[in-house]
Every structure is written in C-alpha cells, then in structure tokens.
Amino acid sequence: MKNMLKYTILSLGITACITSCQKVIDINLKKAEQRYIVDALITDEQGYNFVTISRSKPFNENNSFERIYDATVWIKDLQDNISYPMTIGTFTTRYTNTALTARTGNSYELYVVIREDTLTAVCTVPETKVELDSIKIELSEFSRFLGRDIYVGVPVYKDPPGRGNYYLLRSYLNGLNTLSASYDSDEFIDGQVNKSPIFFRNINREDSVAEFNNGDTLSVELFCIAKPVYEFYFTLGQNSSAALSNPANPRSNVYGKNVIGVFNAATVSRKSIIADY
C-alpha cells in the first residue's frame, strides 16, 4: 500500500497539471451575403438621438466596418404625424435631428432608403419613465471568496410595481463609453431597487475597460425601453456564447432586405459620481 500511495500522489500531480487547453485555429468559414446593420436611438431628451448604418463583412477580414453615409433617413411621430429628417452634421458620423424629442407613449417610425433598398422599423416609447436615482460604490461580496477587496458601482433605480418594464444601461468611465450596454427586465426584480453592479474595481474581468480607480468619473444612462428592444439586446448578448448549442442572430426590430438592427425609442435619465472608496 505504501507504493500505491506514492503512485497515487504522483498521478495526482500529473493530472492537476492537465487543464483544458485552448488554441487559435484556422477555420474555413463561408462568406455570407452582406447585411445592413442599423443602430437607431431616439429619446425624450431633445436632440439626443442617432441612427448609424453599417455593413457586415466576412469573418476572416479585419474589424473595420464600412459605414453608410449616403442614406436618406426619416423618423416619423405616428401620433403627431410629424416627420423628422435625420442628417449627418459637419462634425458627426451619425444621422441626427436636433429638434426631435420622443414622447412617452408615442410610436415612431424609422424609414431608411439606401439606393434601391428600404428599411423600416416602428417602436413605442414606454409609458412609464423610471429615473436613475444615483450611483453608489460598495464593497462587493465577491471579495469574500476571491480573497481581495472588490468594489463595484451600482446604479440605483426603483422598478415600479407591475411587470413589463425593461431597461438598458449604458455606462461611461471618464466620459468614454467603451462597454456594451447592459439590459434587464423586471421579471425577477418587480417593484424592487436594482442591486446589479455595472462597474467593477479590481476584479480582473476580461473586459477590464470597466475597471475604475479612485477619482474616476462613473456615469450611467438609464433607458426605459420597449420589449422588442429588450429582446434585441437579450438575443444579442447570447450571440457568441459558447455554452449555447444554437447560436443565432439577434431578434431584430428593423425590417427590410438583408438587415439586422434595432430601433430604440426610449426615455433616458443619467447620473454621475466620482469614485471615492
């Protein structure tokens, strides 16, 4: 049995060294027909709106994507029956209209003409506007079992009672928005105050762009969004998850030939804080 023990320990050692191994490989992927990619936002804040149109490309090419600047873009308020032309200004790369203010409960139509192709979308601004109350910085409970102090930035807002509220949160670190938006529904937090953090300090996440230091300015925009917009972001979030057996394109609410995109008519509120922990 003495030998047994020796061998067992030896084998244990060998096995412990074997972890899963990852390697970058070459795969011959097909080249899909190009798609129009539409990202459109209008808000209840006057002039805070944009439409961008870009195109998809083959996987093996680089990450610089073609933008379309010569489209004709309109947004129409379907209740007030007013159309707003969206144009590219001298210093912007996005289609905007400084006069447009989206109103809660109103429906809006997005209308895009690119050469012979027409893309359309309709979205309704949610009736209820939820205001972002504050951002607080707190010590995360992850600290307990990661063995070091982890601070998080939590946007504070209260979900109104009753199901059917959907949120999109966009975060800015020292004025820069480099992270993807986060999204939430009130299915599991109906009527409660949000506790999920957005910013992390010292957690070595892969997207370390979210990490902040003392003195950094953290800002958050809270959008109240329509359900189809939430579904777009939810399915977008699943797009490259390796844990799923059937990855798929996000559920688009923009329609037309060869298009993937989202038209988000939302309310917005924002708060900032200087990190001090």
Partner: protein, 778 residues
C-alpha cells in the same frame, strides 16, 4: 412517412390466429425453474435452455432468471448455458410438470481455465429473435479503459454501432438519430431522468452494483414505452445469498465499496454499494483562491434486497440515491440528484404463468442557490413519478410465449419554486397521467422462423390543477389562459404502438432479421446548452405540446464464423419522427413566461447502416463497430423551414475495442474511436453594434466540427489471492494516449492581442489523463 394502419392491424390479427392454430393440443408438460449462479445465488438473466430429444426446443430465462419450457411427454436432454458460465446438462424423463432449478458455475471458478479468458462462444446473435439489441457484459466493460478510471456503462455503450457519444465531457448518448432525451433509462424498472453526474462527465451508474445491461436500439418489445429511440434496461445485482462478501476500489477521484450477503441463506440477500468522488480535492491544490473554494463532488448509493418467500413468491426492494454538488464557497451552488425506489413481487402462478408487479417511485430534483448579503435566493425544481406495472408472462406452449400487462404512471412536475429575494410566486405544479396496456407474443412459427409481435396502446392525460392551459395565436402569443379543477382531464392522447420483429435462421451461422416499431413519447427535455445540464427542462405533453411519435423499420443480417468465434452483423434502419420540439432562436430559457410561446415544432428523419464484427473467444476478444448515418430535422421557423442536419448528426463513426489476456493475471485493453464531426452552427460573417463585434449566422448546423479520434489503454494486474479469500487487482490506464486535442468547443471572439481582428479558438478538454485504481474483494 404515412403508414397503412388497416394493413398493419390486419397483419397482427392474422399473426395471432396463425400462432393459435399452430399450437395444437397434445399431451404436454412444463419444466420450469430458476437459473442461478452457483456461488452467489444471483439469478441469471438471458441464460439459454436447449432441450434435445423427441423434438428440439430452445428458450431463455427472463429478467428474474425464470424459465419455462413446455414439451410433449418423453425423454430429453436439457442443456443450460450462459456466457461466462460452464454449461450444464440434465437428463429429464418428462411425464408431468417438473420443477428444475439450475445452478451454473462461473468459468473462472475452474482453476484450469485462465481468469477471464472466454473459452466459449454461442450463436445467440443468430437465434435471437430481436434485432438492434445489445446485451452488455458488465464484466467485459469493467476491463475497458475509461477517463479517470471511472467505469462507466454509458461510455461503454457508446462504443457500439448505432450509439453515439457527445464527445468528451458529456454523459448523453444518442441512438439511431434520436435525441438525448429519447432514451428510456431504467434502473430495476424505474425510470431515471438524469443519468449523468457532474454535468455529464460520469454516468449515474456505479458499475460495481450492476448485473445486467440491455440496450434496445429502437425495436423494443411492447412492454417498454414512453421514449422514441432506445431502452437501456439496467438491473442491479441481487446480492450474494450464500455468503457475505465485500468488494471495493480506491481510485484517483473516487472510492467505492460494495457489501453483499445473505439475509437468510438461499432465501434472501442484500447488496449495498456506494461511491463517493473527491474531484474537488484537485482544486484545493490550485493557486487560485476561487478554484480552491470550488465544490465539485458527487456520491451515489445503490441498495437492493430480495427475499424468496416460497418457491412461488419472491420479493425485491431496490433503491438508488445519487447526489451532485457544484458550488463556489457557500455563495453559489447547484446541486441535483435522482432518487429511485421500487418494490417488485414475482409470483409464479403456475409452471406456465409468471407474474411480476412493480411499484416504483422516482424523484429528480435540482436546486440553484445564491447566498450573498445583497441577494439571497433558492430555486427548486423537481419531477416525481409514481408508477405501477403489472406484467404476466405466459409460456403458452412450445411455440408461443406471451407477455401482457399494463403500466400506469402519475407525473408531478414542479418547474420552480422560489425562496429568498426573488419575490415572484412559485411556478404552478403540473400533473399528468400516463397509461399503457400491452401484449406481445414470441411465436416460433417454424424452427427457422421466429416472429415477435405485439401491440402497446399508450395514453397520456394532462390533468387540471394549478397550471394554466394556454391558447396561442399564429405568432405564438397567448390569447387565452384557462384553469381546470384539480384532477380534471384537460387533454388526452392515445397512441397505438405496434411492434414487430422477425428472425429467419438460414443455417446455424446465418440469420436474417427484420423489425418495425412505432413509439410515442410524452415527456420532453428542452435544452439550449452545449453540455448536458441538470437544469434543462423536462416538460410534459399538454394541449399545445403534442406527443412525439416515431416509426422505425430495420433490416439486418447476422453471420458467425469459425465456430462462433467471430460474430458479424449488419443492420440498416430508417426512422421518422414527428412533433419534434425545439426552442425558438434566441430563447430566454430563464424566463418563466409561458414556455409554449418559446417553442417550435417539426419533424425528423434518421437512417443509417451499422456494421459490427465481434471476436468472442480466445486470448484476444473485442469488437470493431462502424456506423454510417444521417439525422435531419425540419422545423418551421428554423433554417427557413428547410431540412438541416441535427446537432448529433455524424456521418462516420468507428470504434475498436480490444481486450487481451496476456497471462492469467495480466490483462491489457484498449479502445480507439474515430468519428467525423457533429453538425454545428458557425458564423459566416460579422458586424459591429453596441461597441462589440457580433457574429452573423446564416444557417442552422451548416458546419462540421473537426473529426474526433482518441485511443485509450488500460492494464489490469491481479495481485493474486492472499490469505483467506482476499483478492485484489491494480488497474492503470491512460486516456487519450497520443494526446489528440479534440475540439470540445470552437468559439469566436475578438483577438485579445489585436482588437482589429477576430479569431476562432478551439478548447480541448483531456489529453494524457492517467488513472490508477486498486480494487479488492474478500
């Protein structure tokens, strides 16, 4: 595929009449009894009984070791044999009903023969009237190399043609194009909902405790039902009714112990077998604090007791308990487990009529726990079944053996109840009732032709109670919600399931076989994860979700060579399935909104050819299996409604298994598998939105994973018998001996070193995994 139902039922009626007419009345008597292991008293399943004399006859013992053979008055020589046992013969002068219990001695008991070397081989593959059946020799499987040295019948079954594994780190298996949830896994006649441990790395079955494993690849007899693709019928050991014995093993990641013995010698026995893993001990060696605090373990316990009340009555109690725990410190946890229990009563009404009554309970539950100051919650989910099965085996005459019975199962599904900070109400409990009646006759039409035909009629009723029943519009939106009184029949389905299997023996070494089966399935597993996950949802049939149904036809040929040393078989099958279920694309599986709004339905078809060469005796035994197959689905709303390859579609699949007895004490074994890649969805483009690179998909499962191949080796050395009855052996193995990096997943992402590019990354799980274990018995 459309079936001609009148034709089918007409055929069955004619068969019944023919069987009746051919069994003419003469002066006949019955010999019946039990066949057991001489040393342990364990009943032997599928042992062969051959009578030669006035007329030759052949039968096999049933799943309780009982046999019954009816013949004309006269002198007979009865030969009893079972693989791995010495055949024994008895001369009988038949002049009245005779009771004859037989004890067979294990081959290795004979010192002259080397331990474990098979010296005999039979032609049961030729005479077997069923096709697509694999009787798995648990002893043989225990010699095969396995990951971490954990013996695993599910992994062994996937080495057979027509059965596919899901690659490294998965406990799922797929039979003839069927999905993972279409296998009926029975442990002592109780259904096991989740037959895998640790997200599929290990099977729930501790092979120490097992006696017999039979796999039916779709052409199951009428007594089985409820799943489309296969039946894996697993029987636990009864326990030694002669003497106490203890056996066990110490392995790298787990240890096992089995105790068995008589309750009353010759009359009753018990068996208790336990296994506990300590995989998380490895993680304690890690430098990473969070890994150190990871919990990763499982245990299982099998227990069985049997008692022979009299020559006519026997009773069996079986239980299984398995539990898995995953977690990080005490903050997050996922635990799940199966509990099954059954009581069975065998009653030999008369020498020709054998009855078995089974009362069973099973319980599969999982809990997801989050315990943080800011957030604390537990989600519990559970499925429970209560079932009753009554079966009569009537050994009518020398040509007809009838099985008939009924089965009734009450399902209670608790999709989720919440405690803690999630302030939503519990999901409503779901009740349903599944019933079946069946009859099956094995008709020896001529000495060369055996036809096994039967009919199962199954029903399923969704019962009223807490759960809502929805009406959906064409866009899958809920337009009406109705509730019914508890116990009220809301929606019922009935499915006749005819089964037919025929075998024609051309000569003692050559037979042709044909079979047809229709199956229905009422419980469905929904999964959107790449690995088998205990939290995948089991959902019962209701007013919207319909029963899955399949037709399967198969044809085959079996040939033996060199005095049955080599057994060859070739089988082909074609199967169609309807009411197949899949999630809509981009489903939110965590949502509790009506699941019916997230589902799509369609059809599937599978066809293939399976080739098997087995070497059954000599120092070198083993097999080579090859499968050529195709499995496709067509679901409205997926892939534009076009046919697409199912995820487990795999064109070529080869497995080679070899066991070589070098000396009496030393056994080498090896397996090699090669298969072409499964169908998979990869991107065909990319774009950017919301500060991220997003991948563009154009078709479902339009790509293939790279081919998989791997070789494993194992060596078993008997350390010899020391004083007393102590026996021990040392087993050492290597999984993936040449270190092939088989793709577990291929993921797509931005290149972390160059964000202007994207890359494909392959993750491989295991290479060069050594194992060692020490097994003992006394």
């Amino acid at each position: 595929m459309r079936t001609n139902k009148p034709f089918l039922y007409g055929t069955l009626t004619v068969l019944c009449l023919l069987s009746y007419l051919t069994g003419q009345a003469q002066k006949k008597y019955t010999i019946s009894g039990y066949i057991t292991d001489a040393k342990k008293g364990e009943t032997l399943i599928g042992a062969e009984i051959e009578a030669s004399g006035t007329k030759s006859q052949y039968t096999t013992s049933n799943e309780y070791g009982f046999y019954s053979i009816t013949m004309e008055e006269g002198a007979y020589k009865l030969t009893f044999s079972n693989l791995g046992y010495e055949p024994t013969a008895e001369n009988v002068q038949l002049s009245g009903n005779t009771r004859l219990d037989i004890k067979l001695r294990e081959e290795s008991d004979n010192v002259l023969e080397g331990a474990g070397i098979s010296t005999q081989a039979d032609n049961s593959n030729i005479t077997d009237n069923r096709m697509g059946v694999e009787r798995i020799n648990v002893k043989e499987i225990n010699k095969l190399p396995v990951l971490f040295g954990e013996r695993d019948i599910v992994k062994a079954v996937t080495l057979l043609p027509g059965v596919k594994s899901d690659g490294d780190g998965s406990g799922s298996f797929y039979v003839r194009g069927g999905a993972a949830d279409q296998n009926l896994v029975l442990l002592d006649e109780v259904l096991v909902y989740n037959p895998s441990h640790l997200l599929g790395f290990f099977s729930t079955f501790n092979s120490d405790a097992l006696k017999n494993v039979t796999l039916y690849k779709g052409n199951m007899p009428a007594q089985y039902g409820g799943r489309l693709s296969s039946v894996m019928d697993v029987q636990m050991k009864d326990g030694n009714n002669q003497d106490y014995s203890v056996s066990g093993g110490i392995g790298l990641i787990s240890s096992r112990l089995l105790v068995e013995g008589p309750i009353v010698k010759d009359k009753g026995s018990f068996m208790i077998s336990g296994r506990r893993t300590y995989a998380d001990l490895f993680l304690k060696l890690s430098n990473d604090t969070s890994l150190q605090k990871t919990i990763l373990n499982f245990y299982d316990l099998n227990a069985k007791a049997s008692y022979k009340i009299s020559d006519k009555h026997r009773i069996f109690f079986s239980g299984y308990l398995g539990q898995d725990n995953l977690g990080i410190a005490n903050a997050f946890g996922l635990d799940w487990g199966n509990k099954t229990g059954s009581v069975r009563w065998n009653y030999q009404v008369n020498p020709k009529l054998f009855s078995n009554t089974t009362v069973a309970y099973n319980d599969f539950a999982y809990n997801v726990k989050v315990d943080l100051n800011v957030f604390n919650s537990t989600i519990k989910s559970r499925i429970r079944d209560w079932s009753l099965k009554q079966e009569f085996s009537y050994f009518l005459n020398s040509r007809n053996e009838i099985k008939a019975g009924f089965q009734s199962v009450y399902h209670k599904v608790n999709p989720g109840s919440y405690t803690g900070d999630i302030n939503i109400s519990d999901l409503p409990l779901n009740y349903s009732w599944e019933n079946a009646i069946y009859a099956n006759n094995t008709w020896k039409a001529t000495p060369k032709l055996t036809i096994d035909y039967g009919l199962r009629v199954s029903t399923f009723t969704a019962l009223g109670g807490e759960q809502p029943f929805y009406t959906l519009d064409a866009n899958r939106r809920v337009i009406d919600t109705r509730y019914y009184d508890k116990g009220e029949f809301v929606q019922s389905y009935i499915n006749p399931e005819p089964r037919l299997s025929a075998n024609y023996i051309i000569n003692p070494t050559l037979a042709v076989k044909a079979a047809y089966a229709r199956n229905a399935q009422y419980m469905h597993l929904l999964s959107n994860s790449a690995a088998s996950n205990p939290t995948d949802k089991w959902i019962p049939t209701n007013n919207i979700i319909r029963p899955e149904r399949s037709h399967q036809v198969s044809l085959g040929i079996a040939k033996n060579l060199k005095d049955n040393m080599f057994a060859l078989s070739l089988e082909g099958y074609y199967k169609t399935m309807d009411n197949q279920i899949d999630y809509v694309e981009g489903v939110n599986i965590l949502s509790n909104d009506a699941i019916e709004t997230q589902l799509l339905y369609g059809i599937a078809r599978a066809y293939g050819a399976e080739f098997l060469v087995r070497k059954n005796k000599g120092k070198l035994t083993g097999w080579i299996g090859y499968t050529l197959a195709r499995t496709e689905k067509q679901i409205d709303g997926i892939n534009n409604g076009d046919w697409y390859a199912a995820r487990h579609d795999r064109t070529h699949d080869i497995s080679v298994v070899a066991i070589y007895d070098v000396t009496k004490k030393l056994t080498l074994s090896g397996t090699f598998v090669y298969y072409t890649g499964n169908a998979v969805t990869f991107p065909s483009g990319k774009y950017t939105i919301d500060n991220r690179t997003v991948f563009l998909y154009t078709e479902r499962n339009g790509y293939r994973m790279p081919a998989y191949h791997r070789m494993d080796l194992n060596v078993t050395y008997q350390l010899g018998k020391r004083k007393g009855r102590w026996e021990s052996e040392l087993t050492a193995g290597m999984f993936n001996v040449y270190g092939r990096e088989n793709a577990y997943t291929i993921t797509f992402e931005d290149d972390p070193d160059d964000p202007s590019r994207t890359q494909a990354k392959r993750t491989a799980l295991f290479k060069f995994v050594p194992s060692i274990s020490y097994n003992f018995k006394f």
